[in-house]
Amino acid sequence: MTDATGQLTVVVADDDEDIRSLIVIAVRKAKLTLLADLPEGISALAAVREHKPDIVLLDVNMPGLTGLEVASAIRADPELAPSMVFILSASVDDTAVAAGFAAGADAYMTKPFSPNTLAAQLTALIASTASGPTTDLPAPPAP
């Protein structure tokens, strides 16, 4: 949910501290409020359940729960339905992208990424909330 100033809120999860910092910078560039940045999946899911953020930015390969498992858990929880899931992954093959969308991602971006581009994508995601998923990769295959 939005914060007191009306800005959209974000929870970030990535096991690489440097990448996590880079994502946080991109979040700020997109003028979003960071609620938590966490290094693994279990605490990330707990933070999402606690804060019910507007956007959840998830890495795929993380200890505890993977980004895909966290995304699935979010999609399985009706209370978290409004939260948008943005997956960042170093996997570029079609299977990985399809798995991300199958887990419930609204957007998918591959590493390495430009902080400016990520900020722009986050802004675009917010703008297109009602108009469907966003990705820097080709559209996912039909299920």
Binding site: D16, D18, I19, L22, I25, N61, A90, S91, V92, D93, D94, T95, T110, K111, P112, F113, S114, P115, N116, P138
Partner: protein, 583 residues
């Protein structure tokens, strides 16, 4: 042959006895006559000279008979002997009473010899000889015919002996004919016997050869312990099962031969899938459809190597590469099939692990690169703390090399995807011209920096292909950047697009260092680098061309190369045309 047999064969031939054998009855009869004359006083010698002359003649004839028998070249003169005999007997007859002598009838013996000759003229000679022998008392003047009986003896007796000679001659001729026929039959029998012996020897040799071939085949089959060799008839019933098959599938030959079918060791789903590939309609009335699916390609005359899953006796499975070939008889008709299988489980696992490793490494390298490139970008774009020109230049170098590393990681990842068959295309109908032009445009800066002139020729009309724009662009980028990289300063790179034989042809030609002819075959192998490239220290890892080839092949196209060291290289890409275009 013992000496007695040799002597017997020399003198006593049943059908053609030697002169001494023929002479023997006459000599013995003559000797008997002499003994009778000497023993009986009332049979006195009337003319001793004639009698002695007769004895001398008989001795001479006997000696000649012995001589002619010993000396083969003289045997043809043996016919003189019976004529000498005739005169010897004639003289004995003359010496023992003339026409009253008891021994005139002895002439029958030499007459038989003479008449025994094959030609009919000997009948006449026998008659004449007899007449002369019997007329000796008259012709030598010892006697004068006294009565008509003497004349009759002188004329009738030779005629009687001539008739006897004629009968003997005829019988002899008939006997000779029979002997000849027997000889011919014997010769035929000998020929047949020799033929039979030869045939038996050949059969024996062939049998030995077959046994040796069988032993060789058996020893080869037995020696193959790491591959299964299975033979089956046209219905799939197993008739060959080597130790490799026993080891691989856990059943002995006695448990399998003539009892089990080849397709029973396959996974049903795979056989059904192959049947579907071959468009076998459901309910097709073919004998053993599973077996038909296994051998269809081989049945049509082409040996096939395909990956299958074998099911062992204990129901565990293993992945095998099976080569199926047809067995034919002397007329070329199919009599069965041979299945040679190699266990590729381990090889596949190694390949999978290798690709997984490359994929993992590539994936893990992208994460630190994310940090490097992200923070470099933040530094460059920091408006609050702007960088000096020199710092921007340093940053550019760092960024360029980080991107280079990223491309290499991308290439490794793509190579792993190709190797593990997880590489897919996002195909649409697209125009090839703009893709090629974009690659050339993006390469122009690099070409200018390298002092290489680059030009492009693309027809105005749209040329469509069915493909993945990103991958085809990647292929063009690789080929054009390669051409620039391997062309010395002042050289030229030409890119041409056209249509040849209803196919899109993209040709990238350079005036670079070229590739040795003996290396062209390996050029598209992963991590291969031409010797000219390594000598000239041109940077690279040898993945670009293998990736490019994989992309082109995935588009059902071809990638060829023509090159001459010191002159240049041309890469020719051929892609299926999506729609007819008038150029």
């Amino acid at each position: 042959m013992n000496p007695f047999s040799a002597l017997f064969r020399r003198f006593v031939f049943i059908d053609n006895p030697s002169p001494v054998v023929k002479q023997l009855p006459t000599s013995l009869a003559f000797l008997g006559a002499l003994i009778i004359v000497l023993a009986l006083p009332d049979l006195a010698i009337t003319d001793p000279t004639a009698a002695i002359s007769g004895i001398v003649g008989m001795v001479l004839a006997t000696l000649l008979a012995v001589t002619f028998s010993i000396s083969a070249p003289l045997t043809r003169l043996a016919l003189l002997i019976p004529f000498i005999d005739l005169f010897a007997i004639g003289l004995l007859r003359m010496g023992t009473g003339g026409s009253l002598s008891l021994f005139g009838s002895l002439v029958i013996l030499p007459v038989v010899w003479i008449a025994n000759q094959p030609e009919r003229r000997y009948i006449a000679l026998a008659g004449i000889g007899t007449a002369l022998a019997l007329s000796l008392p008259f012709t030598l003047g010892a006697m004068v015919p006294q009565s008509s009986a003497d004349w009759l003896r002188f004329t009738i007796t030779p005629i009687v002996f001539s008739v006897a000679a004629a009968i003997i001659n005829e019988m002899s001729r008939q006997a000779a004919g029979r002997v000849k026929a027997i000889h011919e039959l014997a010769e035929e029998r000998d020929v047949m016997l020799r033929g039979a012996v030869d045939y038996a020897e050949r059969l024996s040799e062939n049998e030995d050869r077959l046994r040796a071939a069988d032993r060789l085949t058996r020893s080869v089959l037995d020696a193959v312990t790491e591959q299964s060799v299975i033979g089956a008839d046209v219905t799939g019933l197993i008739d060959v099962w080597n130790p490799g098959a026993e080891k691989m599938l856990g059943l002995s030959a006695t448990q399998v031969l003539g009892r089990r079918y080849v397709h029973e060791f396959h996974v049903d789903q795979e056989l059904l899938a192959r049947s579907a590939e071959l468009n076998y309609p459901p309910g097709e009335t073919v004998l053993n459809p599973g077996f038909s699916a296994l051998v269809e390609t081989a049945r049509l005359g082409t040996a096939e190597v395909r990956q299958w899953t074998y099911v062992r006796a204990d129901s565990t499975t293993l992945t095998v590469e099976v080569a199926v070939t047809r067995r034919v008889d002397e007329q070329g008709s199919t009599v069965g099939y041979i299945f040679v299988a190699t266990d590729v489980t381990q090889a596949l696992e190694v390949s999978r692990l290798k690709d997984e490793f490359v994929g993992l490494i590539s994936h893990e390298l992208r994460t630190p690169l994310s940090s490097i490139l992200g923070y470099l970008e933040l530094m460059r774009d920091d408006e609050e703390n702007p960088l000096s020109d020199e710092q921007v230049q340093y940053l550019g170098v760092a960024e360029r090399n980080a991107h280079r590393l990223l491309r290499l990681v991308g290439d490794l990842l793509f190579t792993a995807q190709v190797g593990s068959s997880t590489f897919s295309l996002d195909t649409t109908v697209l125009e090839i011209g703009p893709i090629v032009r974009a690659s050339v445009e993006s390469a122009k800066l690099t070409a200018a920096a390298a002092g290489v002139d680059i030009n492009v020729t693309i027809p105005d009309k749209a040329i469509s292909v069915l493909g993945d724009a990103q991958r085809l662009g990647q292929a063009c980028d690789n080929l054009i950047s390669n051409a620039i990289k391997f062309t010395p300063r002042g050289g030229k790179v030409s890119v041409n697009v056209g249509i040849v034989d209803s196919r899109v042809v993209i040709t990238i030609t350079d005036t670079g260092m070229g590739i040795p002819e003996d290396e062209l075959d390996q050029l598209f192998a992963r991590f291969f680098r031409a010797s000219t490239a390594t000598r000239a220290a041109v940077p690279g890892v040898g993945l670009g061309l293998s990736i490019t080839k994989a992309i082109i092949v995935a588009h059902h196209g071809e990638l060829d190369v023509e090159s001459e060291v010191g002159v240049g290289t041309a890469f020719i890409v051929r892609l299926p045309l999506n729609a007819p275009v008038a150029v």
